[in-house]
Amino acid sequence: MPKSFFHHALKVNEDICTGCMHCLKKCPTEAIRMRSGKAKISANCCIDCGECFDACPDSAIYIEHDDLNTIFNYDYRIALVPAVLINQFKDDIPTPLIYQVIKELGFTHIFEIEQMADFLIEEIRKYAVEHAHIKPLISSFCPAIVRLIQVKFPSLTENLVLLKPPVDLAAMYWRQTLKKQGVSEDKIGLFYITPCAAKIAALKTPVGEEESQVTGVINMDFIYNRVLRKIKEEHRVDAENVELSKISSRASLWSTTEGEKKNMLGRALAIDGVHNISEFLEKVENDELPDVDYLELRACDESCAGGILLTGNRFLTVERMKKRAETIRESETPDNHFEIDNDIADYMRTNMGVQKVLPRSMMCLDENRGIAMKKMALIRDLMSHLPGVDCGTCGAPTCQALAEDIAKVEATLTNCIFLQTSMEGRGSMTAQERVETFRKIWGNK
């Protein structure tokens, strides 16, 4: 097993982390441990969902992204923006102005990625017909969920829809379109403005595909701040001659909760929130859920509108998105889709599949079953000694997690303060030893 499967975008700034433990219990895969007074994220377990980022009161967790200046290495600098971006801004800032100011940051083109959603919806429907024997099919749109399934629900990797999401399709579309115009590959820079960490992680180490078509990723909060600052500083109120997206109302809502569900045939369910999804996938794994054809699962509450790199309130963002979709609908014709040239659409159809997503279980105690059974016996024995209060002062989120760490030789039983107290009482641990143990976990707190 390789040491680390994934690239991760979430990092802990140890200079800021106070070891307050707020993140410890929020992590849906129990990937965090406290060591020397700092939060440490296990690379094999982290799914980049961003729950820890949200929980941190000191903003000690940050998201590594690409430097905006890297865009200038390319002649064609395309900003691939998700629909949630323009809905971060207040109603009094017109969309053309937002687009124009983003361009002024250095981009040559702006492309709203959901313009690919109509194409994708048709392809998923075809895929669903071809894979009717798999129930339920699970959307692979949210990369945090794809990783959650890999590490925690490995048997469900078979249910994932193996098609690329809108951002990859948008990148593919642009590469093909520009190449057709005679632009050479090395002049094309495609930069995704991301609402979350999971998308960055996925684009840096794509699951089920060789290499991403996207050149770089820039955090949405960074772009938001730059754009708003420029608008305020320069007292900008309006923009002219800016070409806006040609998008259908259903495509504009793709990244909101039920955005996929509403467009699927058969019985589909939409669930948002990573903890809700974990609970639900337990049931799916037990086959307790008959007759559901399609599951739309998004790690963030309110889906991408709740992305951790968004500035605006998620409920207001969704409200604006729905209002926009309504406005589009009023003047919509049946074929008001973004049009893709036939040859490029054919190319995309041929290349939009991703390879099988492999299970990468974090749960296995050892690849050798004999050893795994010995470790499990040890864990059961340890659990009968641990207090079961899940206080977290040992540096692990639960007593069970500590027991598992001990079995993996990553912690010792003396990390438990309850056991320390009784050991000291029995004279089998000195006060000095307690202090040293405490420092290993908590530093010089």
Binding site: P154, S155, T157, E282, K283, E285, N286, D287, E288, P359, S361, M363, C364, L365, D366, E367, N368, R369, G370, A372, M373, M376, A377, R380
Partner: protein, 137 residues
């Protein structure tokens, strides 16, 4: 070899599936193939729900060896009058109340059989039923 025991609460559909979830977690930790885990869990869940739906007392005994899992479900309950008939798809004795809750469609035993390597059902009417399941890893 390791053993686990779970008590089943008849009539408590809310907690039906507890044993299956626990066994699932254990098998994942033991690096059992996910397709095999799925078969175990589906069979165990069906058998667990059978006890919840029909019996008035039930226990599950799980034994995990290096190469297989053996599960014995013992209940005190009405028993199965005709096991061969109960093995037939679609046959059900579940009460309307149980069916209303989405259980008791009558696929229990055939579905268990399809997922396991060995199935033995012993039953005495008015006394209870013992279901033994083996799935090889």
């Amino acid at each position: 070899m390791m053993t686990f025991e779970y008590q089943v609460q008849p009539g408590d559909f809310t907690n039906a599936g507890f044993a299956s979830s626990q066994v699932k977690k254990t098998l994942k930790q033991l690096n059992v193939d996910s397709a095999v885990i799925k078969r175990v869990v589906v069979a165990l869940y069906e058998a667990e729900v059978n006890i919840v739906a029909h019996a008035h007392k039930g226990m599950i005994y799980v034994t995990i060896d290096n190469d297989k899992i053996t599960i014995k479900l013992e209940d005190e309950g009405p028993g199965i009058p005709d096991i061969d008939l109960a093995m037939t798809a679609g046959y059900s004795t579940a009460s309307p109340h149980v069916r209303e809750m989405g259980f008791g469609a009558g696929m229990g035993l055939p579905n268990i059989k399809n997922n396991v390597d060995y199935l033995n059902v012993k039953s005495e009417v008015g006394v209870g039923t013992t279901v033994e399941i083996v799935v090889n890893f």
